[in-house]
């Protein structure tokens, strides 16, 4: 596997500025264009987003032109397609949402791009390919695609083959047919002919405007009883896994699948823990981790057994007795788990913190970052309005030195692991102009509120940033704020 290209610039937390086209509004009917996943591909050239309406929109980075070196490559829409449609489960009389839960890119192996997209029940493999030439000059249909009347098409006569007479007639014998109006290319009227003549031709490829088309190559369906929360492509590029609340399945891209983790209890009344996220190790194709709603992470090795019910490593932090509350379990539920690019660390996101774990130390994380600890005193309200169940994601930068995650009020946070500095930024149109530098934000937790600070009570909990992505090698980030996608880059 090719190593990740090194970061092109030393990562800094500030400043970040916007691309001119940074606010990429997704069009669609209100309510369905809420972005539900964001993912860069392995080179960072493409950025895919999935939304609640089952659509996938892919952005492509403009090639930097030599004429305008100061103009960094912007992201423009490359392809849009409907990945999933709403379905109805007749057995349970319930709808199956078409919302795209996750998109994962496959490493590029030829000219086409491949990605996996999944909703709650079905994973699909999509091929995205370009077409910039098209064949023209079909005989059986005209340029609009309409089929031609077969009686209009002549048949190659013997004379063309060098056999036949010299009657003085044209090479092509007209077909006895009623006069028809001339249309299209290739018609040659022959004097005295009752019908128009067509010359048979070989279709040729002519350049056309670039067209990007997405075709579904595989549909992996009916393998999950519960809702799929994660998909992860293996480093061997031949397999991938899909995880739902209770089971993890391993897929070969040729459709076959095998169940590798099953935590469903015999008696569902005894169920107290579910799987919340899963990911393959970036380099070791036999290793994967999955997180649970109880704040634990299990690392499994597929070589030990076909059914990886016994974990190789078990990561759990002992509970802090001073912070115990009714909501301790709920806020410890891990919403996202990500391996570092190096494969040495895993990062987990629970409701209030981001934690970095060393794979060699299971009893506690090596780093813990408070994302929005001021919410700790609001947990009951957040439980009542369901915000406590929001699933925030977290991402590493290319060099694993900075981690990023979202919060409320369209805030997102970045933590520099080396300098221990952190910053809160806001993704909103009102506060950002193109090419403007993002201003750090601050939440006032008590006492006197300074001018630029926001008090905890005025935070907008409907504006949540759950999904973010970081370019694999450069300091370019994509932040999804409800139905807007913001792309920021380091100046």
């Amino acid at each position: 596997m090719a190593a990740n290209p090194p970061c092109t610039s030393a990562p800094r937390l500030q400043p970040f500025s916007q691309f001119p086209s940074s606010v990429l509004v997704e069009c669609g009917s209100p309510g369905t264009d809420i972005i539900s996943t964001v993912e860069f591909n392995h080179t960072g050239e493409l950025l895919a987003t999935g939304d609640k309406g089952g659509r996938v929109v892919i952005f492509q980075r403009e090639q930097e032109s030599k004429n305008q070196p100061h103009r960094r490559g912007e992201y423009n829409v490359y392809s849009t397609f409907q990945s999933h449609e709403p379905e109805f489960d007749y057995l349970k009389s319930l709808e199956i949402e078409e919302k795209i839960n996750k998109i994962r890119w496959l490493p590029q192996q030829n000219a086409a791009y491949f990605l996996l997209s999944t909703n709650d029940k079905t994973v699909k493999l999509w091929k995205v390919s370009e077409r910039d030439k098209r064949p023209e000059g079909y005989n059986l249909k005209d340029e609009d695609g309409r089929l031609r009347d077969p009686s209009m098409i002549t048949v190659l006569r013997d004379s063309l083959l060098g056999v036949g007479g010299s009657t003085g007639r044209a090479l092509w014998e007209p077909v006895r047919a009623s006069p028809m109006p001339a249309a299209g290319v290739g018609l040659e009227p022959v004097p005295g002919a009752d019908a128009l003549l067509l010359a048979l031709q070989v279709p040729v490829l002519r350049p056309m405007d670039l067209m990007v088309e997405a075709t579904p190559r595989r549909v992996f369906a009916n393998a999950h009883t519960y809702h799929i929360n994660s998909i992860s492509v293996n480093s061997d590029y031949e397999t991938y896994m899909s995880a739902d609340d209770l089971r993890i399945n391993l897929w070969n891209f040729e459709i076959t699948n095998q169940n590798i983790v099953d935590i469903k209890p015999a008696n569902m009344e005894e169920l107290t823990e579910v799987i919340t996220a899963a990911e393959f190790h970036p380099h070791h194709c036999n290793t994967f981790v999955y997180s649970s709603s109880k704040g634990t992470i299990r690392l499994c090795d597929m070589r030990t057994a076909a059914l990886c019910d016994r974990h190789a490593k078990f990561f759990e932090e002992p509970e802090d007795p001073s912070n115990r509350s009714f909501f301790s379990e709920i806020i410890s539920s891990i919403s996202d788990v990500k391996f570092s690019h190096s494969g040495r660390y895993i990062m987990t996101r629970d409701y209030l913190t981001v934690k970095v774990w060393d794979l060699n130390m299971e009893n506690r994380p090596i780093e813990t970052y408070q994302v929005h600890d001021y919410l700790r005193s609001k947990l009951c309200s957040l439980y009542e309005n369901d915000c406590i169940f929001d699933k925030f994601e977290c991402v590493w930068n290319g060099s694993d030195s900075v981690i990023m995650t979202g919060s409320y009020n369209n805030f997102f946070r970045m933590f520099d692991r080396n300098t221990k500095r952190d910053v809160t930024l806001e993704a909103s149109r009102e506060n950002s102009k193109p090419r403007a530098i993002l201003k750090p934000r601050k939440v006032c937790v008590g006492g006197k509120r300074r001018k630029d600070e926001i008090s905890v009570d005025s935070l907008d909990f409907s504006k949540k940033i759950l999904h973010t992505a970081w370019h694999p090698s450069e300091n370019i980030i994509a932040v999804a704020a409800t139905n807007n996608l913001y792309i920021f880059q380091d100046k």
Partner: protein, 320 residues
């Protein structure tokens, strides 16, 4: 269920806001009397909210299993905590045990009530050594539990010291309970629970001037009776549950209810459809519960309860 709806009406909410600073997820000092009350109130509120979440949202799509599991764990924890607290007090056998063939749940609930008759014994120190998993026994096993009078009580992980002394049980409770039993000779657990709440509420009316007050004993006892009931196995959408198989009492009680209390303030329903509480009719409520029960729901199943008694209860609750 009426009780819980009431708790979340506007009055209950205002009350909650007043206590908000003291309620939100803070560790309560075991020696502070006011904090103990606040703790009980907080626990009660959370329990109510949890039940509402499980039963009152109408999913068009399958509800999130993770959310359901977390809410269920919360309910179980509170239930277990109350069980532990109930076992601290010496046993008090109720004078009138119901002779009817009631479900085990109901029988289980009554001793919990009886425990409140005597003053509480609060050991000064409580060691929480029991791991959480061992306390989360399946609901069906709760029937076999005997009441422990040993002072060495073990709590599960995140519990706090037990709540403060509660007022002694009123005598009229047992009689009201018997009254209900006469009306419904063979209630299921759901009916039993609703019957308890109806009995409690009707009993509460003469004893409590302000029915809105959530700290009163009847409400908390009602809650305790509900707490002792097994939590439904609502993970399988098509599995029938003991809690919801028979909805006869519920649909009668809900038939005339003023559903304007379902309208929450916008500020508390920040998220989407799951937390939206549109005014709901009894039929819609039953359709909500239908996925959790494999038995068909017939909204107009007759019930033997005296309707005048029911009207009386309704009047009291709605405050009209």
């Amino acid at each position: 269920m009426l009780y819980f709806i009431y708790m979340l009406g506007k009055g209950g909410k205002r009350k909650f806001d007043e206590h908000e600073d003291g309620l939100e997820g803070k560790v309560v000092s075991p020696t502070d009397g006011a904090s103990k009350v606040s703790y009980t109130l907080q626990r009660q509120t959370i329990f109510n909210i949890s039940l509402m979440k499980l039963y009152n949202h109408r999913p068009l799509t399958e509800p999130s299993l993770q959310k359901t599991v977390l809410i269920n764990n919360m309910l179980r924890r509170i239930q277990e905590e109350l069980k532990q607290e109930g076992s601290l007090r010496p046993m008090f056998v109720a004078a009138s045990q119901p002779a009817d063939p009631l479900s085990d749940n109901f029988r289980e609930a009554q001793p919990a009530f009886s425990h409140l008759a005597s003053p509480p014994l609060l050991p000064a120190d409580l060691v929480s050594t029991m791991p959480l998993e061992s306390c989360l026994t399946p609901a069906s096993l709760l029937e076999d539990d005997t009441f422990c009078t040993s002072p060495a009580v073990q709590h599960d992980g995140p519990t706090k010291p037990p709540p403060p002394a509660l007022q002694p049980v009123k005598d009229s409770f047992s009689s009201a309970l018997d009254e209900i039993e006469e009306l419904c000779p063979a209630p299921t657990s759901a009916e039993a629970v609703a019957a308890e709440s109806a009995a409690d509420d009707s009993k509460a009316q003469p004893s409590e001037s302000n029915i809105h007050k959530p700290e009163g004993l009847p409400e908390s006892r009602t809650a305790e009776s509900k707490l002792m009931d097994p939590l439904p196995g609502n993970f399988e959408i098509t599995a029938s549950t003991g809690f919801l198989t028979d909805l006869t009492l519920d649909d009668i009680l809900f038939a005339d209810i003023d559903t304007s209390m379902y309208d929450f303030d916008p500020c508390t329903t920040a998220t989407g459809a799951a937390s939206k509480m549109a005014p709901v009719s009894a039929d819609e409520l039953l359709k909500t519960l239908a996925p959790y029960s494999s038995q068909p729901v017939t909204p107009n199943q007759p019930f033997k309860m005296d309707l005048t008694e029911l009207d009386h209860i309704m009047e009291v609750l709605v405050g009209s």
